[in-house]
């Protein structure tokens, strides 16, 4: 009990003692040149951090971003090194710590702690420098959050170029015929006359034996005689699905699967693109297709779900029909 009381009293003394320096400290002329150098380095840190934000806004090339942020950290480190070597008092205490009861000696310690601050004669300038450097650097580090995309209004991600009647073409604009699509291999198709770079444009086409298809009721009629079309963009992190596992001998080998090479999300093309392995959180969006009178493949509408990687707001909405 007595110990607790002593600790409380000494803590109170410590707090109160900070307000008024009980013993007048001998004024130290300090090192004005070093202080200017530190202020200058902090200014450079601020400039480099602002440079990062400007580069991010205008031309987010990796080299510029890395250079500006790297410079900011180098300047900050230099400022800290100069501060440590030239502005902070280094004193070696040879005595042992006094027992807690001796509050007078404790105050001496407080004074020792406060002393280095007293030596900064251009305190305001340095304070401003620290605030500027810290603030802009913090802002620069937070800026890339903008790259995570739209947070609340995710409607833009639900617009796809696929409409009823749009033909499926290869990367050179040649329409895919149903007779081109063979089993045990896969093809990439794009909307005719669309922008191939759009995230919802590429689809992967595979042909399965019609008897092997196990589409759920909501996806009935999405296939064109065993040919199925899925978005080529993985629903986990948005990589291109570029692997097709297709058994040579389907009685013994693993079943057909569309696999994303980034994190091995594995989707079952026979059952509507459901996830059978890996980190993807939802099935691949399926595109309803049909064969027209000339044997070309055409879209029968839009995907059954949102295309691309998943984040909040994306799972609840459906693409426009």
């Amino acid at each position: 009990m007595i110990r607790v009381r002593d600790v409380l009293i000494s803590a109170a003394l410590l707090l109160l003692g900070r307000r008024r320096p009980s013993i007048p400290v001998e004024e130290d002329p300090g090192d004005p040149r070093a202080e200017l150098v530190v202020a200058g380095l902090l200014g450079l840190t601020t400039c480099a951090a602002i440079g990062f934000i400007v580069a991010y806004a205008l031309d987010p090339s990796t080299q510029l971003l890395g250079l500006s942020l790297g410079l900011a950290f180098i300047f900050l480190a230099a400022a800290l090194v100069v501060t440590a070597h030239r502005l902070v008092v280094n004193e070696e205490l040879e005595d042992d710590y006094p027992p807690e009861e001796h509050t007078a000696e404790q105050e001496e310690v407080v004074q020792l702690v406060e002393e280095p601050g007293e030596r900064l004669t251009r305190r305001r300038l340095l304070k401003l420098g620290v605030l500027g450097a810290g603030g802009t650097l913090g802002l620069a580090l937070a800026t890339p959050v903008l790259s995570l995309g739209h947070f609340l209004d995710t409607k833009a991600y639900l617009v796809t170029p696929w409409r009823r009647g749009r033909r499926l073409v290869d990367e050179n604009g040649r329409p895919w015929r149903a007779s081109d699509i063979e089993e045990r291999t896969f093809y990439t198709a794009f909307p005719e006359g669309g922008d191939n770079e759009e995230i919802a444009a590429p689809v992967v086409l595979v042909r399965l034996k019609p008897g092997d298809l196990r589409l759920p009721a909501t996806l009935r009629g999405y296939d064109a005689g065993g040919i199925v079309a899925y978005s080529k963009i993985c629903t986990h992190a948005g990589c291109a699905i570029s692997l097709y596992r297709t058994p040579l001998f389907d009685r013994a080998d693993p079943t057909p699967a569309l696999v994303c090479p980034c994190h091995y999300s594995t989707f079952d093309p026979a059952s509507g693109g459901t996830v059978t392995f890996g980190p993807a959180g939802r099935a691949l969006p399926m595109l309803p297709i049909e064969v027209d009178a000339r044997g070309h493949l055409r879209a029968k509408g839009n995907f059954d779900g949102p295309v691309g990687p998943s984040w909040w707001g994306v799972r609840i909405w459906r693409p426009e029909r």
């Binding site: 090194v81 440590a84 070597h85 280094n90 081109d180 063979e182 045990r184 291999t185 896969f186 093809y187 570029s242 692997l243 097709y244 596992r245 297709t246 058994p247 040579l248 001998f249 009685r251 013994a252 080998d253 693993p254 699967a257 696999v259 090479p261 091995y264 594995t266 392995f277 890996g278």
Partner: protein, 223 residues
Amino acid sequence: MPRRLILLAAFVLVATAASNGKQLYGRYCAKCHDTLNAPSLHGVGAQAADFYLRSGYMPLPHLGVQPRRARVTFTNAEIESLVGYVASLGQGPAIPSPQPQSGSLSAGMQLFADHCAGCHQIMAEGGYVTGAVPPALGDDTATQIAEAVRIGPYVMPRFSQHAISNGQLNSIIRYIEYTRHPDDRGGWSIGHIGPVPEGLVTWFIALLALVCVTLLLARRHHA
């Protein structure tokens, strides 16, 4: 003397019979391929038989495993007669004869990156997919690569002439042959296993440098 002649004639007879394709097929292949336990070989052609026998993929140790490259136990003559017999079972593709020297190295790398590197890794070192192990391509001959692309062994997709033309295939093979002796511009290949280990090595070097700098900064100044 006549006794020895008869013995010799009997030996020759047995030898020709053993090297006969149909007999070999009956002994090594029919157990699985003539039942429903393995794919029928009618119509697969000389291409498939040549690939599976010369790579050691067949005969399989037991059903249901991924075929792997293995020591070939048949003699060249035995393989030739087996290939001839399988080709005679039905109309099928012949053994391809690729010309990698006529292909383009840079086009080959582009095509390899598009079609093959997802599984076999960009330096053809092999890798992993769910349910199978894509092999490294270091030991495959040009003919075997061309055959595998057209057949699609195990769970590999097959690529028709429409997807990869014979000319493009030549370029791909030329690139695969290049990956066996690449000129490592960086100097240190780190096993050619990709950017992750390369990044890790960089991290270790950077970490060492950072520790040294930290030690230097924190060094005590003795008056």
